[in-house]
Symmetry: C2
Subunit: 141 residues, 2 copies
Amino acid sequence: MLAHLEKFILSLQVARLSTLTPSGAPHTIPICFALFDNDTIYTPIDTKPKKDITKPLKRIENIANNDEVVVLFDRYSEDWGELAYVMAKGKAKLVSDEQENLQAMRLLENRYIQYRDQNYLPRGAKIIGIRVYDYTSWGNL
Amino acid sequence: MLAHLEKFILSLQVARLSTLTPSGAPHTIPICFALFDNDTIYTPIDTKPKKDITKPLKRIENIANNDEVVVLFDRYSEDWGELAYVMAKGKAKLVSDEQENLQAMRLLENRYIQYRDQNYLPRGAKIIGIRVYDYTSWGNL
């Protein structure tokens, strides 16, 4: 990834993850995230309240069925000369390796004080790892 | 639409539109928007610079091929007790009726000073109309 894309992405606290439902419709939610090694995005299943804890999370069902995802990083400004976005296309799966899970948790804790100090990310939390294969950028990055 | 969802959506200046590529992958970009009559979202093809003006816009190609879209409205805050989103599922198409196009332009100009004062929305600009059939909400709306 180019340095200016990385810098832009890391300047943001929230991104949007789009997955595909089993029927092939889009499904998009805001996410917290961390970057690793230029081409991997981690986003955790943290302990923010879920709509229905008796059902599996839609995003997890979706990537189990179809791993094709998009993560959108964008900046809005009243000055439209400052607008910018990066759309990352990737393949998503749950991180199954324990060492990788721990590493991703550390990266997330480094970025979010809420994960460090407020128990939003308990040890062993599920983490989605997205291997990015394409970046599209636009605007004043 | 419930009044508190509408109030939340109208408090935002930017949303994210997810469409489907012909190969069935998600495609997500930030959009400006206006609401009409509880179940219609308008988003224009304005004159912000495009990546490649020699090609048709991806979002237009996508909805011509598959009209299933999602619009995500969300608010981020450092106080995670204030996080919220509304995911609207809908069917998208270009507005073809001239009267509806004019009405949508007025709604967009009402919401954005950039459309009123900065020539970002020339008369006759293409506008995507999204008829929403489902809202999912989460968080502190």
